[in-house]
């Protein structure tokens, strides 16, 4: 008999426990066991299913994240596209080589003042550095020798290179 076994076992291990009544001592509401009913049925099953909208919320969150990501990507792509295809604000900045080639160099140089040419040479020397300096050229030398001796064709060829 199990009960006898349990008593004998406790007698060996913890005999004091054999002297204690096992009946529950905790309070239970009056008539609890008589009135106890398990709430089962279609309504309960439905409640259980309805009580788990976490999946729905997750799905909504996922869609929201994807939509937000798509909007950000869209903004970046459109912004990048606009940046690359931005129209030039000053059309005068565009260098048209064909127009340059048609310029009559001699006439243009003649029209320039000596001070302007000196200023250009100083700037060009500073930009070119010491090795490629144009310091050996002066306004007088250019006007007397170089420009006079260079043909229009040679100048145009030089510019087109």
């Amino acid at each position: 008999m199990e009960n006898k076994e349990i008593i004998e076992e406790l007698e060996q291990v913890a005999p004091l426990l054999n002297t204690i009544a096992k009946a529950p001592v905790q309070s239970v509401p009056d008539g609890y066991f008589d009135q106890f009913q398990v709430q089962i049925g279609p309504d309960h099953s439905k409640t259980e299913i309805d009580a788990a909208p976490i999946v729905k919320m997750n799905t909504r969150g996922k869609w929201f994240s994807l939509a937000a990501a798509a909007v950000v990507i869209g903004i970046l792509v459109i912004g990048g596209f606009n940046l690359v295809n931005q129209p030039v604000s000053d059309p005068g900045m565009v260098i048209n080589m064909e127009q340059i080639a048609k310029i009559d160099i001699n006439q243009s140089v003649q029209a320039l003042s000596n001070d302007a040419i000196d200023e250009y040479l100083k700037t060009a020397n500073a930009l070119a550095g010491p090795e490629n300096s144009l310091h050996q050229y002066t306004v007088d030398a250019i006007s007397e020798t170089t420009v006079a001796e260079i043909s229009d064709e040679e100048l145009q060829l030089y510019l087109s290179e």
Binding site: E2, A14, T19, A21, A23, S27, V28, I40
Partner: protein, 216 residues
Amino acid sequence: MGLFKYIVDANEYTNFFARLNLSSPILSNLKDNRYILNQDSQLVKQFKIPSQKNAAFTQLVKQYQEKLYWHIRRMVVEHEDANDVLQNSFIKVWNALDNFREDSQLYTWLYRIATNESLSFLEQKKRKQTSSFDDVAEVYGNTVKADSNFNANQLEWKLQLAIQQLPEKQKLVFNLRYFDEMTYEQISKILDTSEGALKASYHHAAKKVEEFIKTH
């Protein structure tokens, strides 16, 4: 027991012992167990018949509600919590009884469900409280003391306080063996633990409980 091979149902069983004219406590206990097993088997069969399902379940609830309630209450301590866990346990039973295979006893199967529900409940509660084991033991102790029937000088209440000091698994083993008077084999089926380990756990728990009662 080879004897039981010849016993088909409770009536036959009763007639058998009546003819033998035996009335020892052992035979009486065997008779009760056999009757319960037979009744459980009948309930399971009835439950699987749609027209008898509700009646069988009502009978099952009536038969086990009190035992399962106290098993759960000893674990979760508070009545409201025990009521919730008991409800959930019976809902699980309702949903799973159609698939119940009678290679295990209904009794141990019900206890297994109630035990799992209690442990899940306690786990959730612990996560919400985020407190250490010592704190949990203190909380349970205070809940025991808050009972309207509490009497600090009564041994039965000291026993309740002592049980709250045990770790959950030991508490379970102690309750199932001490209060529900189950065999180690039955407890083993409920907790999926070897009988040897259960015996060691129970002895350890019993000594701790006795020590607590002596010193408080």
